[in-house]
Amino acid sequence: MEKREVIDKDRDFLAEKAKMIRRETVRLADICGSGHYGSSFSIAELLVVLYYRLLHVRPSEPQWPDRDRFTMGKGHAAIALYPVLADLGFFPKSDLDSYTRLGSPLGDHPDMCKVKGTDFSSGSIGHNLSVSVGMALGLSLHRSPARVVCMMGDGEQTEGQVWEAAISAAHYELGNLVGIVDINKVGSDGQTREIMNTQPLADKWRSFGWHVIELRNGHDLDQVFSCLNEALNGEQRQPSVVLAETVAGKGVSFMEGTWEWHLGFLGPGDLEKAYSEIEKGIT
């Protein structure tokens, strides 16, 4: 892994950006009439640390060949990514207002041909680690310093293709590839351990030849930075995976830890309650 400069941002700045993600997720879901709240709130801190501290991207030059890539295996959390891309200047913030409306570039799942800053389209779970393997191979062939980060869900770990990709990434010694598993413990049918248990994930990834980093609290900005920085800028030569323990729906009390808020909608009364809790920040 080639080290790249770390961007210095203080904790308050990052906490405010995480609030922005949750606030905008609620607002955009309100425009749409439905939203993946749970799995977007669980990755808010991960996204913030990636985009404001670690990933090298150029909003004025979205196709910059040496940009770090970010792909979403769990594309249903794109609603959390769009506000970050708009905030960074990839597209006007006003574009967010069209979220999911007729002809909008911004759908429930990201489209790389329509949304600047989106490195790959997704929606079909289990594809994007393979795509990221190809990106990492391609960048390595170009001798580019760019890294590739793929955000997956813990439910996604049941997809066989993830493990095909894991085998090939280790085989090709893709030190420029980082996987993140958002272990928020829920899927659309319930608790992931009850639907199909994928633990112990650390043992699995380690046995597949990956450098495993266990992130105990995926909402603690310092821990998140420490783990992601090790994954992106560490000395290891093999691909790295960050196993991030998170809480589905983190930041809104009645959503936290529930699978029911994987997808849902907040009526006007509850909307204000959610906004109010988000403004208080997470504990």
């Binding site: 389209s121 393979s130 190809g134 391609g138 990709a165």
Partner: protein, 332 residues
């Protein structure tokens, strides 16, 4: 079997191994052509396969350009995704694999990872149709045209021999979207003595004839030529068109032939339900030509087992079978 390679440790000329077997697949020119293209300065070509670099004849590219050759093992879906990822970083990936695993297993990845983002990935699906004979239904591919024909952004063509593969790869090097080349197992008879004219949406008239026209793809092009010769002995003049471009079709040619004949024949090594003939039928119906269409191909069932040539005879997909079918319809 006429061995051209004596396996190590054997002395009986009748003995053969993978290497000897593969040398019989002379029409699978993909690897040779890709090496030539790379040597000519196409520095962005990368080749991918899923443990089938030998049988699909692209191993030679890996020997010449090891840094640009990726064997993903038996993990087709991962390979397709990785090809898409490589394409996003400026490479021009070419996948070479058995068609039944590439197109039929991989269709959801082809759709979501390659066609939806409209990436310049080339796919060469080999051993299509019933070319794998007695290996059985899992190794037959009579559904790929039907499946791939409705993927937006995809260009689907069927080079019928080694020279056609060369033209297909060369003439589409600048194409910016996804391409699928449907080819055989490599033991087909030669149709073209040299790389033929080739363009997306084109076709080649190989034999002229005023009495009937057969629009053929893949192996059925050679069968069409053989049928032309057989019918000529009876005074029936059969026109043979290699309709190598399946999506998009050569609409102009099809409508011209419909104007010339009240009865048109299509011929393909594919299920007649949803295949090339169906695409021609759509074209005729949309234009309102009123032409009667006879779709010659595999019946809507899974093939019985047997050596490929025996199967072609059994299903009437060789020259004699095609001639008989056409004769019957012209006389009815």
């Amino acid at each position: 079997m006429n061995p051209i390679h004596q396996p190590s440790g054997t002395s009986d000329p009748a003995s053969w191994d993978m290497t000897g077997s593969l040398r019989l697949s002379r029409q699978l020119t993909t690897g040779r052509v890709l090496v030539e293209l790379a040597e000519e300065g196409n520095d962005d070509l990368v080749v991918l396969t899923a443990d089938l670099g030998g049988p699909t004849q692209v191993k030679v590219f890996g020997e010449q350009f090891p840094d640009r050759y990726f064997n993903f093992g038996i993990a087709e879906r991962n390979m397709i995704g990785a090809a898409a990822g490589l394409a996003t970083t400026g490479w021009k990936p070419v996948i070479s694999n058995y068609s039944f695993f590439l197109a039929l297993m991989g269709i959801e990845n082809i759709r979501n990872d390659i066609c939806y983002p409209n990436l310049p990935v080339r796919m060469v699906g080999t051993h299509s149709g019933i070319a794998m004979g007695f290996y059985g239904t899992s190794h037959h591919c009579n559904e790929d045209i039907g499946a791939l024909r409705c993927l937006a952004n995809l260009t689907l063509t069927a080079p019928c021999d080694g020279n056609a593969i060369e033209s297909a790869l060369r003439q589409t090097m600048d194409h910016e979207g996804p391409l699928y080349f449907r080819v055989g197992r490599g033991r087909e008879a030669t149709v073209y003595e040299e790389p033929p004219p080739w363009e997306i949406g084109g076709s080649n008239v190989l034999r002229e004839g005023k009495d009937a026209t057969v629009l053929a793809v893949g192996n059925l092009v050679k069968a069409g030529i053989d049928a032309h010769d057989l019918l000529a002995e009876e005074g029936i003049r059969l026109k043979v068109v290699d309709c190598y471009s399946i999506r998009p079709l050569d609409r102009r040619r099809i409508l011209e032939e419909a104007k010339a004949h009240a009865l048109l024949f299509t011929a393909e090594e594919h299920n007649v339900t949803g295949g090339f003939g169906t695409a021609v039928g759509d074209t005729l119906a949309e234009a309102g030509t009123g032409t009667r269409l006879v779709k010659i191909g595999m019946p809507d069932q899974y093939s019985i087992l047997g050596p490929p040539t025996h199967l072609y005879r059994h299903y009437g997909l060789d020259g004699e079978g095609l001639a008989g079918n056409i004769r019957k319809h012209l006389n009815s």
